[in-house]
Structure formats: C-alpha cells, structure tokens
C-alpha cells in the first residue's frame, strides 16, 4: 500500500519488566514531583495491587500520597470532580493511575482540571482543545488490553446529559507507562483472554485500516506476534510472569499502533454493542474481529495475508500459498479465540454473551454507522453491510 504521508507520535516513556514499579520514585523526581495523587478503583485495591505499588514506591524512598479509589467501571464526571477535589485539598503535584481503561480515562480528565483549574471539564471536550502540557502523569495498567497507558484519548460519561464526552489531545498522554508483570498476575482467565483479544484487535485494525503507516505497522506486527505466542500459555499457566509481561507489552505496542493508525469496523460495532447491551469491550472485539477481517478481505487481502506471519510463524507462513494466507490468518484468529473459549468460556458469538438480543441487531448496526472509527475502515460499510456482519457474529 502506498502511504504518501503519515504522522506518528508517541512521547510516552515506557518502563517495563522486572521491578518496573520500583522506578516510580525516580520518574517522579526527574519531573519535579513529590506529592502524587493515586487513582484507582475498588477492585484493583481489593486485589492488593495498590499496596504492591505503594510498597514499591516506599522501598524507593517515596511517599505514595492520597488515594482516590472510587473510580466507577464507566468513568464519570462525578468521580472526576471528586478526585480533583482531593487533588487540590491535599496539594498534590502529579497523578499516578493504577487500573484499567476507566481509571486511565478518569486520570486523564483529572489531569485536565488539575492543570487548567476550574470545574468546567466540558470546555476541553473534543479534539485538540488543550494547548499546553499537563501535570506529571504516570500510568500503571492492571489489564493487558486497552493500551490506555499510551493513548491520547479519554471518554468520560456526563451523568447529567447521559452522553459520553470524548477528549482527544496529545497532552493527555501519560509521561510514563510502567509495565510490571506483578500488576497483571492475578487477572482472571476470562478477563486475560478478553483484554488480549482487545489488544489483538487494536493491532489488527491498525495494521489493516486506512491510516496504517510503516511505524504503526512495526508496533502492530510485534504486538500480534506476542499475543499469538503468549495468550494460550498464560491461560494454561496464569502465574507465568514472563508470559504476562509479553501480553502487557503487546497491549502497549498495540496501543501505540492504534493511537497513530486508529481502528475500524470492529470497534465501531463493539462500541455500539457495549452501549446497547453492556457486553465487555474485549469480548466484543474477539467476536467481531474474524468476521470483519473477512468483510475487509477484498480491500486488504495482502495485509491480512501478511498477518499470518505474525500469527502463525515463518514456517506456516512460508508453507501457505500466497493466495491462501489471508484466510489462513483469519482461521488462526478463530482458533486462538476457540482455544480461549475452551479454557475460560470466552464467548465466540453474540448469542453466547447472553446479553445481546437478536432484535437489537438493527439498532446496533444503525448506531455503528455514526462511530468515528468507521471512516478508517478500508471497505465502505453501509447499514446492510453492518447488519450482515452482526448476523454472522450472532451464532
């Protein structure tokens, strides 16, 4: 594919691997910060992960600062305001987010108000409405999927209007993403599988959609390789710290890729299913990815075929005829999803989620057409096309 111009941006420092958490005091110090606000949610606290982080910080001579652990599953304006109030009350000077996507989204929004002042978050909603760097921000992901630790987007639910407000700015990017295998070791098998398929979808869509570019391709292909190699071994051996780290790195790499190349129809459908039926985002991704790749086959046969190299390795790639590589790559993804299903019950169809009603499919198809991701899908998608993909994914 000829890509005559592209932009690629990722200024996030990634501190990854053994004792990565112990580097936090150093990262705060070099940014002139000493009083971080810790942001997390009740589940992460209950899993002992906040204690792990504060213990690591203490061993390095840093005090952890106040903890706000009331982030809800869907980031909300109320929780942002409450966290900002605590930030100001305790005179904090930086933010450390410990959690999944909603904690990261909340932390990014808190950082806006902590830096800009005031209570009106809405005036910064939309794209590129921030004009200066924010307070030092360290992100510690506790799932290996969203890639939020390296993305410049935050979605916050406004309870008053019932809408979700998107914020997009390069200044939302964390200064540091700390990826330590200890933070994902206790992740349940089902969430491990669902979030890994979320990351696989980020990488696959970055690799096949309209905004793909040589640099995002490098991140996406490396992410696909790691997920294909490590997901099933980690499901079989959850305490495999090396495999956990591979998945967490893959999620970050896929995040870098899609933060620059965006995503397409899989996400457009997944966002709508999530909004209408409340299905876990990663589960939606695992269900839709093979069907959408098949839908995009005519527009992206070469790229999907190349994915076989990263999914199955050089021997299988070399022994598969060129004309059959794309369908073989899709079959690999289906096999990966089916193996995950056998191990942890990851749903393979919309019907298996138990949350989606078949009569909802037309509404989901209509809603997905207005999703911003749709513009990046390589093949044009109309209502009938979206509905057809949903029907294929039904059972």
């Amino acid at each position: 594919m000829s890509q005559e111009f592209f932009e690629f941006f990722c200024p996030v420092k990634i501190a990854a691997g053994y004792k990565a958490l112990e580097h936090i005091p150093f990262e705060l110090e070099v940014r002139g910060a000493s009083r971080p606000l810790l942001l997390s949610d009740a589940g992460v606290v209950a899993a002992g992960l906040v204690d792990t982080v504060t213990g690591a910080m203490g061993s390095g001579g840093a005090s952890a600062g106040p903890l706000f652990d009331q982030v809800p599953p869907d980031s909300s304006m109320a929780s942002v305001r409450a966290a900002v109030a605590l930030y100001r009350e305790r005179d904090c000077d930086s933010i450390i987010a410990i959690g999944g996507g909603s904690v990261m989204d909340t932390a990014k929004a808190v950082n806006i108000l902590a830096t800009e002042g005031g209570e009106d978050l809405q005036r910064f909603a939309g794209a590129n409405n921030l004009t200066r760097p924010l307070k030092p921000f360290i992100a510690i992901p506790t799932t290996a999927g969203t890639g939020s630790e390296v993305t410049a987007v935050s979605i916050i639910k406004d309870e008053d209007s019932g809408t979700k407000m998107p914020f997009m700015s390069q200044f939302l990017l964390p200064d540091v993403a700390v990826i330590d295998p200890r933070t994902t070791l206790k992740l349940p098998a089902l969430i491990t599988a669902a979030t890994a398929l979320d990351a696989l979808t980020h990488a696959s869509e970055a690799f096949t959609c309209l905004a793909k570019n040589p640099l995002s391709d490098a991140y996406a292909s490396a992410a696909i390789t790691r997920i294909a190699r490590s997901l099933i071994p980690v499901l079989d051996e959850p305490a495999d710290a090396g495999g956990r780290l591979e998945l967490a790195l893959a999620a970050a790499m896929a995040g870098v890729a899609f933060n620059n190349s965006m995503v397409g129809l899989v996400h457009a459908l997944g966002h709508s299913v999530g909004a209408i039926a409340g299905v876990h985002h990663g589960m939606c991704m695992g269900i839709f990815l093979p069907h959408v790749l098949r839908y995009n086959l005519d527009a992206r046969r070469e790229e999907i075929g190349e994915m076989l190299l990263y999914l199955a390795g050089p021997e299988i790639y070399a022994s598969t005829p060129h004309s059959g590589r794309a369908t073989a790559a899709i079959a690999c993804i289906e096999a990966l999803r089916d193996q995950a299903h056998q191990r942890c019950g990851l749903p393979r169809t919309l019907a298996e989620t138990g949350k989606v009603q078949r009569e909802d499919l037309p509404r989901i198809a209509a809603m997905s057409l207005d999703d911003g991701s749709m513009i990046f899908n390589p093949a044009e998608v109309g209502y009938d096309d979206a509905l057809a993909v949903l029907e294929q994914a039904w059972a």
Partner: protein
C-alpha cells in the same frame, strides 16, 4: 535480485505532488469549495438520502470545511431540516470542522485525486468536534459525489461506488443541479 511486490515495504512509494502553482491551486480550491457548498445545500433540499441524514443532525448544527490559516472554505448549518450556507467569517461556534492542513491537501481531495476518508486517514486534515454528526456529513458528501459526479470520477473520490442505476443517478443529479440553479437565481 527482483523482489516480488508482496515484499515491497509499505510507504515506499511516493507520488509526486500535483506540480501546479499555488495561485492556481488556490483558485481551483476556492471554486470547488463554492461549488461543493452550494451542491450540498441543494442536495439537502431534494435528495431523499441526504435529507434523511440531515434530519438526524442536532438542531442548528453548524460545521465548516476549510483550508487552515484563512484559506478557502465554506460553513453550513442545519435549519428546518436542511443545510444552509452561512458566511465563513460570520460562523459562530462550530460543532464540527474539517480543516485541511495545507492548500495542496484540499486540492487533492477536491480534485478527486484522493477521497475524503483517505485524506483524513493520511492526516492531511483534522476533524474537530462532534464526530458522530461528522459521519453523517461524510455520508452526505459521499452520496452527493456519487450522484453529481461522473462515475469514473466518483470512483476515485469514494471507497466504493454505491449501487446506483444510471436512471436514478441522472434523475437525482438533475434535481440537485436544478435546485442549485434555482437557489443561485432566486437566492433560496
């Protein structure tokens, strides 16, 4: 050694620019912005597909397509279920803007060298504001291009040419161009 095309690295092909002097590009883009705005205004009054999309826009929804740094462009707003042009300079707070980062990028899109989606994907424009409504505007533009442009030109501008029969296309195009002429003459 010859390398098969499948191994050619992505991004290795760079097409030369249009090679047209900037004043001519500016004049062309200004003309096309003028034309696209008026065709969209006319389409929103007579084309049922576009009318359905406009009906779902928020009341008073205002948007602009322009070349940044004061370049050519147009602004429109929803009014009584239709799109109405408004002076770009007098446009108040916009809910959506398509801003080409350079004149040549607009020239490529309005010269039908590359489509709107591809231009966006290649970071040649920034789209700020209500993206959900933005998708409706993109679909309006796609439908209008499919109808009013010759098929071989529209194919270059769109990801996929929709299944429109020649009869339907000619009838729809006639309605749109006629409406535009009426609006130009009558000022409505």
């Amino acid at each position: 050694m010859h390398r098969p095309a499948e191994f050619r690295p992505a991004g290795a092909t760079v097409r030369p620019g249009p090679g047209i002097p900037y004043p001519l590009q500016r004049a062309y883009v200004r003309l096309m912005m003028w034309l696209v705005g008026r065709l969209l205004q006319a389409s929103s009054a007579v084309d049922p597909v576009i009318m359905r999309e406009v009906a779902e826009l928020p009341p008073g929804f205002a948007f602009a397509m322009r070349v940044r740094a004061g370049g050519p462009g147009f602004a429109m707003c929803e009014q009584d279920g239709r799109l109405r042009l408004m002076p770009l300079q007098q446009a108040g707070r916009l809910q959506l803007s398509f801003d080409f980062k350079h004149l040549t990028h607009a020239f490529l899109v309005l010269g039908f060298v590359e489509g709107t989606a591809v231009s966006f994907a290649r970071d040649r424009m920034s789209v700020d504001g209500n993206l959900g409504a933005g998708m409706k505007i993109v679909r309006c533009l796609n439908r209008m291009e499919a109808v009013v442009l010759p098929k071989f030109v529209a194919r270059r501008a769109l990801k996929a040419y929709p299944p429109i029969g020649l009869g339907e296309k000619l009838a729809a195009a006639t309605r749109i161009y006629a409406r535009m002429l009426l609006q130009l003459v009558g000022g409505k």
